[in-house]
């Protein structure tokens, strides 16, 4: 049995919407789990059920060996960082951090010591007397984290905490969260719709779509080995290219090219997925690309163009190659780095 266990957890709202389908997963102690998925996929609902802010319609959640379905959120020993931080506007930073401890009847000296420790760890010691309204976005974020850390809870929950920050700060806070989690070593669940955040933070990643976990694995495993069309399209930036085609007797045929000796026994309509970074130029390549647009990122170039059938396609190449609008490129797939999905079910078939 692991630290946090979800068994067939289901959420049906009173209006009949099924937000989370029978979901089972387990989180080991000290693990950083990330739920990623598009808006409305049920990832936040799942998190809120763990927190106790939503009732569980069916299934069981156990934390540290105890069934917590019916336990009041205040007694679950869980801390949560909200999207808008939910800092207490009328209390200064010190009291924001101390409030949870006061409610647990810890004596003043201990509170002071714990708050000061947490403040030091998060570098907010000098703001302890300020009200949240006098802090910047990044500082508020830290206070919100401090409020979670100071209680030393069994589990941290993060509900898209970075989405209110500007791009630069988001990357910085992302790093800090990861560092902090490694330092404190608390089991954490982080919800996000941003796949970069998900990839960089997670020890384990759960890709959720329509209330179902599509794939649960390490980020790199998900990147290298997506199990479904949805996961393949969701993870990776720029997005994976998809080409429709047909697979018959181990031969894949698509508009303009063929791949022979495909390792799959599937026969029928398929979608071929190729990541932009798994391509390279060669004289007699499979894929012919008419370049429309080049984005120069410095280290890389993102080349956007169209295939013969006017389908959009993206190719990522090293930044030292000069490619211009209007060029015609001939591309090969590196090391059979392609994914084949059943077109109707979206399941991976190679």
């Amino acid at each position: 049995m692991s630290f946090l266990d979800l068994k067939n957890v289901t959420k049906i709202y009173p209006n009949g919407t099924k937000a989370v389908h029978e979901t089972s997963l387990s989180v080991e102690e000290g693990e950083f789990m990330v739920f990623v998925g598009p808006s409305g996929c049920g990832k936040s609902t799942l998190l809120r059920m763990v927190a106790g802010l939503e009732d569980i319609t069916e299934g069981e959640i156990t934390l540290d060996g105890n069934l917590i379905n019916e336990v009041d959120p205040s007694e679950r020993d869980i801390a949560m960082v909200f999207q808008n931080y939910a800092l207490y506007p009328h209390m200064n930073v010190y009291n924001n951090l101390a409030y949870g401890l006061k409610n647990r009847g810890i004596d003043k000296k201990d509170i002071e010591q714990k708050v000061n420790e947490a403040a030091k760890l998060l570098q907010i010691s000098e703001y302890l007397e300020r009200k949240p309204s006098m802090l910047s976005g990044g500082q508020r974020q830290r206070v919100a984290m401090g409020r979670a850390i100071v209680r030393n809870p069994k589990i941290f929950l993060f509900d898209e905490p970075l989405s209110n920050l500007d791009a630069k700060l988001r990357i910085q806070m992302r790093l800090e969260i990861k560092k902090l989690q490694q330092k404190v070593g608390v089991t954490s669940i982080f919800v996000t719709h941003d796949q970069t955040e998900a990839m960089t933070l997670a020890d384990k990643l759960a890709v959720i779509n329509n209330g179902v976990i599509e794939q649960l694995a390490t980020p790199i495993e998900i990147y290298n080995n997506p199990k479904s069309l949805f996961v393949a399209g969701f993870i990776g930036s720029p997005q994976m290219n998809f080409i429709e085609g047909e697979l018959k007797n181990n031969t894949l045929s698509a508009e303009g090219f063929e791949i022979k000796n495909v390792k799959s026994d599937f026969n029928g309509d398929i979608t071929l997925g190729i990541r932009p970074e798994h391509l390279s130029q060669s004289d007699n390549g499979l894929i012919n690309l008419n370049v429309d647009l080049v984005e120069q990122l410095g280290s890389d170039n993102l080349v956007y163009g169209q295939l013969k059938d006017k389908k959009d396609f993206c190719y990522r190449c090293p930044g030292n190659l000069t490619i211009k609008k209007g060029d015609k490129l001939s591309l090969n797939i590196d090391n059979e780095n392609y994914f084949i999905f059943d077109k109707s079910s979206g399941k991976r078939v190679n």
Partner: protein
């Protein structure tokens, strides 16, 4: 700096408003420092007279009424207790009922709210006989409880508190829950401090409302010990002269000026809070 015509006209309008408010009070005050004969013969006064201390002393300490056992000072205390009780209880009860209506999501919350709201249509004056019957059956006539109790529910304040609580983000409640706050703690540690401004404003309104009650104390008190300031204004300081009642105008003016002090004090004291709350835009 150039002064624009618009500014000038705005200031003139404001000044006129101030005059409109201040002049009657000044006349009352100035007149209260003369003796009655001067006022009765020469009309109201704009200048300060010589009888300030004599008039005010008389007003505060002279025993009035037919039983000769109530003084103006006593009536001030009565009114103050009544207004304080009404304002405190109105604010407390309204804040708590709004809390229940907003945060306890049960099916009847909305109908109950509208039921409360409808009570605006039946003010005390409309239901005065049944109210009197109940209060007298409970044996509460001639008591502070009787003066205060029928007036402590307020639909208006409940409405304002409800609207305010609805603007408080749910995350705050959720976050407080995870921090171990129960319903009471959330109310006391969050809603009360966050609605400080609101509470101050409501308290001012309700205090003035309670202070200026006339009909209810008039009906429900038979003992002069429970007379209030507003009632006293009509009854005391009438001198009978050869069987004809003559008003003692100067003393009445003094009485009016004194009667204004408690509500003004409440406003002045609470206004600091009120304005502080308005300046700190934090939510």
């Amino acid at each position: 700096m150039k002064i624009k015509p618009l500014q000038i006209s705005a200031h003139i309008i404001l000044l006129l408003g101030v005059l409109l408010m201040v002049v009657p009070i000044w006349i009352s005050f100035a007149s209260s420092t003369h003796d009655t004969v001067t006022i009765l013969t020469e009309g109201m006064k704009f200048n300060i007279g010589e009888h300030f201390s004599r008039n005010y002393n008389e007003v505060l300490n002279e025993k009035g009424g037919w039983s000769e056992e109530v003084t103006a000072a006593k009536m001030f205390i009565n009114s103050f207790i009544m207004a304080l009780g009404i304002a405190t209880l109105k604010v407390t009860i309204s804040a708590m009922s709004a809390y229940a209506l907003v945060y306890y999501r049960f099916k009847l919350a909305v109908p109950i709210f509208w039921l409360i709201f409808i009570t605006l249509l039946v003010p005390l004056e409309v239901r005065i006989f049944p109210t009197y019957k109940i209060v007298s059956d409970l044996g509460l006539t001639n008591s502070y409880t009787g003066l205060i109790l029928p007036l402590v529910a307020s639909a208006t304040a409940t409405f304002f508190f409800r609207q305010f609580y609805r603007t408080i983000p749910d995350e705050l409640l959720e976050s407080a829950k995870l921090d171990g706050a129960n319903s009471w703690r959330f109310f006391l540690d969050f809603l009360v401090p966050l609605s400080k401004t609101m509470i101050a404003a409501m308290f001012i309104f309700m205090f003035v409302y309670g202070y200026s009650q006339y009909l209810w104390p008039l009906i429900m008190t038979t003992s002069e010990k429970y007379w209030t300031v507003v009632m006293g204004m009509k009854i005391i300081f009438t001198e009978s002269y050869e069987g004809v009642a003559l008003p003692r105008t100067a003393e009445r003016f003094a009485y009016i000026i004194l009667s204004m002090i408690p509500p003004v004090l409440v406003v002045v004291i609470l206004q600091k809070w009120f304005i502080k709350g308005l300046i700190q835009t934090e939510k």
